[in-house]
């Protein structure tokens, strides 16, 4: 059913669908994200609890920050009662990859849309929501993002709060199984285009290999995973851009200037 989405008619249909339809579609795509978030947030809740957060504080931290690694890093700082400066720096480093995602999204927004939507879309820049936004053809309808966020964000926050209350009660087998849901989603985003494009296929394979190698290398391996992701993304996407230029060919965006 997904491959059907790649035909020309549906690309056009996508551009012309209503905001309500976009919201609905986003909500639907946000369901697997929300379920995965709920499971991961449980584990995060356990960390939040040991940092001294109560369930309400955990809920608020999660609904406002929407960042797994970033929040986890932040909670360890809170647990140590380290300086406010330190939590700012750690949050910046752990979340810096969102700068790249936000930059990519800035190119997908219809200039005819209200500027305010950019603030709304920014709220929901997460690895997973960015992944499904990537699959949207043409301009990104902001309501698609809101639909996904409307389910995923409360699940993330509720999962954190419940994790603080009862994180240790969830069976390990279930946590282990649910923990791969988000990776499964990433695969569903990157593999279908790789099938149709040898450059992307090669790039995905090289990224897997480089990421594995980097996690094993003595110097890079000890970096935080957030820093490693940025470093690898900048290097690999940069090399690919030099070797295989792929300037955007969207006809509609060309005239908007």
């Amino acid at each position: 059913m997904r491959r059907g989405d790649r035909t020309l008619e549906s690309v056009l249909k996508n551009e012309h669908r209503s905001d309500g339809q976009a919201f609905h579609e986003g909500f639907r795509d946000g369901i697997p994200i929300g379920l995965g978030y709920f499971a991961v947030a449980f584990a995060l809740g356990v960390a939040a609890r040991s940092a001294g957060l109560n369930p309400l504080q955990g809920f608020i931290a999660s609904i406002t920050c929407l960042a797994s690694a970033g929040q986890y890093a932040g909670f360890t700082v809170i647990a140590a009662r380290a300086s406010y400066f330190e939590i700012a720096v750690i949050t910046l480093v752990a979340n810096a990859r969102y700068l790249l995602m936000s930059t990519a999204l800035s190119q997908k927004i219809d200039p005819k849309r209200s500027f305010l939507h950019r603030f709304g879309i920014a709220w929901f820049v997460t690895d997973e929501i960015f992944a499904i936004e990537t699959r949207q053809k043409g301009y990104l309808n902001p309501f698609y993002t809101y639909g996904a966020g409307a389910f995923a964000a409360p699940m993330w926050a509720t999962g954190t709060a419940i994790g603080i209350l009862a994180g240790n009660l969830m069976p390990v087998r279930i946590v282990s199984a649910l923990s791969v849901a988000l990776f499964g989603m990433f695969l569903a985003v990157i593999i279908p285009p790789a099938r149709g494009d040898r450059i992307i296929l090669g790039l995905v394979a090289v990224s897997f290999a480089a990421s594995y190698a980097a996690s094993r290398l003595p110097w890079i391996g000890t970096m935080s995973s957030g820093t490693r992701i940025i470093l690898l993304t900048v290097i690999l996407a940069g090399v690919a851009a030099v070797l295989f230029p792929h300037p955007s060919e969207d006809m509609e965006e060309e005239e908007s200037q």
């Binding site: 795509d29 369901i31 920050c65 406010y84 969102y98 930059t103 849901a181 594995y212 996407a237």
Partner: protein
């Protein structure tokens, strides 16, 4: 030291939101450079691939169950399974694999 948890959370929020909002609001026009266009085109594939592996084999109870989920997910996605189907398949595969292995 006596520090306020709510203030920590506020700082976390301010920093995370600023990082996300700055490029979206500052870059309003179309990026013209062919290099940057190509770079941004490749960013999602690289960044999602890098986040998936090897993390997927480190998140499960045993690396093997994560590896099987990775292979199953790649095959399912290759043959056109939807987002939800791939995500659920990976979970089920881990659950079954760990019942057998552990």
């Amino acid at each position: 030291m006596n520090r306020n948890i709510n203030l920590y959370i506020l700082i976390m929020f301010a920093v995370s939101y600023t990082i996300r909002a700055l490029p979206l609001t500052l870059i309003r026009g179309k990026i013209r450079s062919p290099f940057l266009q190509s770079f941004l085109y490749y960013v999602p594939y690289v960044t999602l691939a890098v986040m998936t592996f090897p993390a997927i084999i480190q998140s499960t109870q045993t690396p093997l169950s994560g590896l099987i989920a990775l292979i199953a997910g790649v095959i399912a996605a290759w043959f056109g399974a939807s987002l939800f189907q791939v995500a659920s398949l990976c979970c089920v595969v881990v659950l079954i694999a760990e019942f057998i292995i552990l």
